[in-house]
């Protein structure tokens, strides 16, 4: 091994070129005693590092994990699915009962029609009431509505922040 004419390269450059398999720094290292020694030390270190192994977890590790899993609350998604399943089942049952008993369906139709007619009058009265209130006290009304909106948004934000997802 002869003494190279170029100065020793930055080690990071040398290793980058070692990964690529070519480059002037790599060419330099072939003739440089100092660089070859560093490369050799790295090779030896790698050999030793490859011999290291992960430790075994404690003997009761898996039972402890499973105990925590058993004690953990049911995930929201599972609760939601169960809720929808119950709701769907109940609606389906109600529909079946209505179809099976024609008289019940007819009675329900009459009740709905009554409700629609009556609710129309209630709705008209409500709209008129709001319009009157707006005419007489628009500023307090707008302020109250804005306050309610802000309060709802804050509440929603807090609710969204309670179930922190696992960072992946």
């Amino acid at each position: 091994m002869s003494t190279p004419t170029t100065p020793c390269p930055d080690l990071e450059v040398l290793f980058a070129q070692l990964t690529e398999g070519q480059g002037p720094a790599l060419e330099h290292s072939k003739t440089c005693v100092a660089c070859s020694a560093v490369l050799e030390e790295h090779r030896e270190l790698e050999k030793d590092l490859f011999r290291l192994q992960d430790p075994f977890p404690p003997a009761n590790f898996v039972p402890q994990v499973m105990a925590r899993v058993a004690a953990a609350p049911v995930p929201a998604s599972v609760e939601l699915k169960t809720g929808f399943a119950i709701l769907g089942g109940a609606l389906a049952l109600a529909f079946v009962i209505l179809v099976a008993r024609g008289a019940t369906a007819g009675q329900l139709g009459i009740s709905v029609a009554h409700w629609v007619v009556e609710s129309r009058a209630i709705l008209v009265g409500l709209v008129r009431g709001i319009a009157m209130a707006w005419k007489t006290a628009s500023v307090p009304l707008a302020g109250s509505l804005a306050f309610l909106l802000a309060l709802s948004l804050v509440g929603l934000k807090k609710l969204a922040g309670t179930d922190v997802p696992a960072k992946v």
């Binding site: 030390e41 270190l45 290291l52 992960d54 898996v62 992946v168």
Partner: protein
């Protein structure tokens, strides 16, 4: 079910059957994940058993404390269980849990606010080297201890990349996935970590040689 389908197609369409078989080999956790999602606790237990060692190992190397490592690894598995519905079963399960565990460890390290001053004394005996054969030549016990000690003095991100690459034999792509960085940066990180380790080891090796000298 998959096995049944595979066996049918293996008889009639060997190519397709082989494809299903190889898919099952590549995604060994998939059936257990699907079962665990349906609420099968024993399937989740099987998943925990299959990846507990690398997850605990990474936690121990990052936290340098057995009790804390065990606690964090358990928490990682719990979070994995609670978020199974979000997990993409096409991705390796072990890498997903490792990423969760890593994030939990980094949170703790941030809280500790002393990334580079870990106490490695407790770790020396807890971290074993591979069972060496006479043919391949064992590294001496003291050498192994000094190597573990030197690794323990490195910053957490260096310990992490060394543990994943050399100890767990992960590919740079897998490491990048766990760490959430570009795969191209891993080799440079590895080199820097190894260079720090080399410098760290140099005085220790000199001491060792001086001790051996008559």
């Amino acid at each position: 079910m998959t096995h049944a389908i595979a066996s049918i197609f293996k008889l009639k369409l060997p190519g397709f059957g082989m494809m299903l078989m190889s898919e099952a080999a590549e995604l060994p956790w998939k059936a257990d994940v699907l079962a665990a999602r349906r609420g099968d606790r024993s399937a989740f237990e099987a998943l925990v058993r299959s990846v507990q060692r690398p997850v605990y190992g990474l936690c121990l190397r990052l936290l340098a404390n057995e009790a804390e490592a065990s606690e964090v690894a358990q928490e990682a598995f719990l979070r994995a269980f609670q978020n199974l519905s979000r997990y993409d079963a096409e991705r390796p399960f072990d890498l997903w849990v490792l990423a969760i565990a890593r994030n939990l460890c980094l949170d703790i390290l941030r809280r500790r606010s002393r990334l580079q001053t870990q106490d490695v004394d407790d770790m020396k005996d807890a971290l074993p080297s591979g069972a060496p054969t006479q043919e391949e030549g064992a590294i001496a016990h003291q050498e192994r201890r000094s190597l573990e000690a030197a690794v323990g003095t490195l910053p957490a991100d260096d310990r992490e990349v060394l543990a994943l690459y050399y100890v767990q034999k992960r590919t740079t792509k897998q490491i990048a996935e766990v760490m959430g960085v570009a795969p191209g940066t891993i080799m440079a990180r590895l080199f820097r970590a190894r260079e720090k380790l080399r410098k760290q080891m140099a005085p220790a090796q000199n001491q060792l040689l001086a001790g051996e000298a008559p």
